[in-house]
């Protein structure tokens, strides 16, 4: 066995605390070590070349690099040894930076520990086995979950690259929250003007199959080959006959009686409805919870919608359908929901009608909204308006410690729009910190102040009512004085939380969540659109609160990763997976329960467990739990780990 060992200084990160020369002299004495060298930056080109040269000239069997965390540079060095003709799994890394030099001060002891760590890696390296990746074919299609702006952009980008996309949206129309907005900050673009053309593009795109009013039921398989079951909920309207003329909606006995979800309950709809006039597809849907016919089996003498529809599109016998599709990649774009401020009782949301949320106010501005775009709050034009920032954000008490990132700016925008509609309005924004970080945001913040919006640092403590008038109490923290303001309207700058759909989707795909409950990306800096599950990507607010430009950018990023994957005919599957020795397996099925990825399948015929290599992530849970040692983890075999441990004890 000829092992080459390479100790990195990491600039001075390691060599300041660890005596590299001493480590080299100790390690060189090991019988299996053929060569041991050090270098300032082992990850650099000359460093890699040093290793490659030794492999070629000395005919090394194994390589050990003692440097930083394998998370950082294992892929780098695996690539380097492979280029020099060695199997990449014959490479082993000792972490003497994060696990040694960065956490110790005593140079002598740190040096001893570094030497021990390297020696134990050498012991393990001697037992490493060459592994070969297997090829997995790729299905050239993608699934996008969520039809908001993130899903729309992702679907369009993938479809434009020539791959088929299934876009699944649980609501009757795509558009998401963006469709609810009137204007967008800081450019004051009309949201509908920039969004609706994209919605139409989606509907017309030959490569996109739009599945609205549908939910993902189950997902099986792994990167390159996912099998997805999609449940299409019955609309009770035949979409191929419906022209979206709306005669049915006007005729419905319940018209104007049911709070519209799209209008945040401020406007009313009937039992047969489209969420909003620009809906895509512009096809009607019957609400089964409300429709008299569907709930009680009768609607007067006969359902008025049926009478009104010239096309005979209404069909009460519709049932749900299950659609099964195969895709190679999945993008999760499940978006966000608005924080429900009811639990922040001091703000009296739900008690006083004139305390409303940001999203509710958004509908007031919309020309298609409940007031037709007029600034009317419960029938009156408000003159004194207070905005409260950080409601449901930066708040540990309610479990949302994060900043929601968009509230500062949507408050500025809404304050501007109110001022525009009510020039004599007295508008105050109570804020914690002003976060105007995006392009043009700071400028917009300045602009609204010039328009007469008062910004007072210090957030609202409470809202109370006296003689029918709302009052907001706060401290102006820049003056250090508590004060109170009367208000006809209090707008809560409610934050963002992951949408309800995230739970089920996350579960199906085994996605991790970060502490803020949004989906966890594979790396916060370098892999913000990937997840730890190969072939599953994130777009938009599903990954964390985002404004529209960031959402669109991430959506395109996710699309590019999908296209990158779909452009290959086969992909290589990671060989560090668990394997079952079927001669030893007793079929107790403990491993099956423990697998977080559902990679295990029981072979009833032979009474033994099998593991799908394409799904297995190599976490090792099953191997650790197997009582008879029938499961072995490639690259982390018991013998390899024991050798490593014995060397340090």
């Amino acid at each position: 066995m000829k092992i080459g060992v390479y100790v990195c200084h990491c600039g001075v990160n390691i060599s300041n605390t660890v005596d590299v020369q001493k480590v080299i002299s100790e390690v060189s004495a090991l019988p299996t070590v053929a060569v041991c060298r050090d270098y300032q930056y082992m990850c650099s080109d000359p460093g890699q070349e040093m290793i490659a040269k030794d492999i070629r000239e000395l005919g090394l069997d194994r390589v050990v690099v003692a440097a930083c965390s394998p998370r950082m540079h294992e892929p780098t060095f695996r690539g380097a040894v492979e280029a020099a003709g060695m199997n990449p799994y014959c490479f082993e890394m000792a972490n003497i930076r994060e696990q040694c030099s960065w956490v110790h001060e005593d140079k002598e002891q740190a040096t001893r520990k570094a030497a021990d760590l390297v020696k134990s890696s050498v012991a393990r390296a001697a037992l490493l086995e060459p592994l070969n990746s297997t090829e997995v074919p790729v299905t050239h299609a993608a699934l996008v979950i969520g039809g908001g702006i993130a899903g729309i952009q992702t679907a369009l980008d993938i479809a434009n690259s020539g791959y088929p996309v299934y876009l699944v949206e649980k609501d009757p129309s795509i558009g998401g929250h963006m469709a609810q907005f009137d204007k967008t900050f800081p450019t004051l673009d009309c949201a509908a003007c920039i969004l609706t053309p994209k919605m139409v593009d989606v509907a017309r795109h030959p490569n996109i199959e739009l599945l609205t009013y549908s939910e993902v039921e189950s997902i099986e398989g792994s990167v390159g080959n996912f099998h997805v079951r999609i449940r299409k909920k019955p609309r009770y309207v035949n979409v191929s006959l419906c022209t979206g003329c709306g005669s049915c909606a006007t005729a419905c006995r319940l018209v104007g009686r049911i709070p519209s979800e799209f209008d945040m309950g401020l406007g009313k709809r009937g039992a047969i409805y489209v969420p909003f006039p620009q809906a895509v597809p512009l096809r009607y849907t019957i609400d089964p919870e409300k429709c008299l016919m569907l709930k009680h089996g009768k609607c007067g003498t006969s359902p008025k919608c049926v009478d009104a529809c010239d096309r005979d599109a209404i069909d009460f016998s519709m049932t749900e359908e299950i659609l099964e599709v195969d895709v190679g990649a999945i993008v999760v774009a499940t978006g966000y929901k608005e924080f429900d401020p009811t639990i922040k009782r001091e703000y009296k949301y739900g008690t006083f009608k004139n305390v409303m949320t940001g999203l509710e106010l958004e509908r007031i501005f919309a020309p298609s909204g409940p007031t037709g775009g007029k600034a009317l709050i419960n029938g009156k034009v408000p003159k004194k308006i207070v905005f409260v920032s950080c409601v449901g954000s930066r708040d540990k008490r309610i479990g949302n410690p994060y900043c929601s990132r968009v509230c500062c700016m949507y408050i500025a925008k809404q304050a501007h729009l109110l001022k525009e509609k009510i020039p004599d309005a007295d508008i105050t924004v109570m804020y914690t910190d002003m976060r105007a970080f995006g392009k043009g945001y700071e400028e917009f913040y300045e602009r609204v102040q010039k328009e007469g919006i008062k910004y007072r640092r210090g957030n609202a403590a409470e809202v109370y009512e006296e003689d029918g008038v709302l009052h907001v109490r706060a401290e102006d923290t820049l003056m250090g004085e508590p004060y109170e303001l009367e208000a006809d309207l209090v707008v809560l700058g409610t934050g963002l939380e992951p949408s309800d759909a995230a739970d089920a989707i996350g579960h199906m795909l085994h996605l991790s969540r970060s502490a803020d409950k949004f989906f966890l990306e594979a790396h916060p800096k370098l892999r913000p659109v990937d997840t730890v599950i190969d072939g599953v990507f994130l777009a938009g607010a599903a990954q964390g609160p985002k404004d529209i430009p960031d959402t669109v950018a991430q959506a395109s990023g996710a699309a590019s990763h999908v296209v990158n994957l779909l452009s290959k005919d086969v992909i290589l599957a990671e060989p560090i997976v668990a394997e079952v020795n079927t001669d030893v397996c007793a079929g107790c099925r403990i491993c099956e329960i423990l697998c977080p990825y559902d990679a295990h399948a029981f072979d009833e015929e032979r009474n033994v467990m099998t593991i799908n290599k394409a799904i297995c992530k190599g976490c090792g849970s099953c191997a650790a739990a197997c009582p008879s040692g029938a499961i072995a983890m490639n690259h982390f075999r018991d013998s390899q780990i024991v050798a490593q441990i014995l060397e340090v004890i």
Partner: protein
């Protein structure tokens, strides 16, 4: 049902009517109250603010007294409750503090185990709504302003209460025919706590004055509290401010009236703010009922 009874120094030594009312009301409801040689809680505003360790030790002494009899401790003052419950809560999970307390109690032959829990009497009443209704002789038909007392509600991490929109006290006065009238800032502090009443009487009075103005606007027959210390502040401050005359009743005094107890037995005549008109109104209600 038996409890160790912790009257607290105000109800014993300043407004004995509260102690008396409590004894009568709970006897009527068949709850046994037992006396122990309690010191005062000790007061959070003075002792805790001067030296918390002393506060823990003296509080633990009180808590330990009924441990041999396995009796939980009923308090009738938010201040006492605040002290005893906070001490109990802290000693439940702070082993170092518990050891400290026991080291000192050991000097006088006592040990603190934490087996007797302090309970505020309103929480007890919460589970006795039927008993209250059964004992009711008069529907009082009063407009009342309720006052919860900060240390009964907060900190909620210790009390587990809802500090922004509590309804318990409002519901209990409702059981005896009273209507709890909402008023501005109904949950704010009366101004007595934290040693402010004794250390800075003028500030305390300002806080109280604002509170009283809000109550006055609500046009109520009386203020009902569940804290002897707040009770004292409400009553004495009105005398000092001279522009208010809203009778102040501890909840147990109100329940006493509803249970048909004579107002003199409840010590209502000992208040600085006259309760005469209120008593007259209740008598009217009682008479009306008798005549029916």
């Amino acid at each position: 049902m038996d409890y160790a009874f912790f009257p607290g120094c105000i109800a014993k030594n300043v407004y004995p009517g509260i102690e008396k009312a409590t004894r009568i009301v709970f006897e009527k409801m068949n709850v046994g109250l037992h006396d122990y040689p309690y010191s005062c809680c000790p007061p959070p505003g003075v002792v805790a603010c001067y030296d918390k360790d002393t506060w823990y030790a003296l509080g633990a002494r009180n808590l330990a007294l009924s441990e041999p009899d396995n009796r939980d401790i009923m308090t009738i003052c938010a201040g006492c409750y605040g002290t005893l419950h906070n001490v109990w809560h802290e000693l439940q999970h702070n082993d170092a503090k518990r050891a400290y307390v026991n080291e000192h109690l050991g000097r006088i032959g006592m040990t603190y185990k934490g087996t007797s829990r302090p309970i505020h009497f309103v929480d007890l009443l919460d589970g006795m709504r039927d008993t209250i209704t059964q004992n009711k002789e008069v529907d009082l038909d009063l407009r009342v302003a309720v006052h919860y007392g900060c240390h009964y509600l907060k900190p909620t991490t210790v009390t587990g209460e809802n500090s922004e929109s509590p309804m318990l006290l409002d519901e209990i006065v409702g059981l005896v025919g009273c209507k709890s009238i909402p008023f501005k800032d109904r949950l704010t502090c009366c101004g007595a706590g934290g040693g402010v009443m004794s250390g800075e009487p003028e500030l305390s009075l300002k806080i109280m004055e604002r509170k009283l103005k809000n109550i006055k606007k609500a046009d109520v027959d009386c203020i009902v509290n569940i804290c002897s210390f707040c009770h004292m502040n409400f009553d004495q401050s009105q005398k000092k401010l001279e522009s208010f005359d809203i009778p102040v009743l501890h909840l147990n005094q109100l329940l006493g009236l509803a249970f048909g107890v004579k107002h003199k037995h409840l010590g209502l005549h000992m208040n600085l703010v006259s309760t005469r008109d209120l008593v007259k109104k209740v008598k009217g209600a009682k008479k009306g009922r008798d005549e029916e």
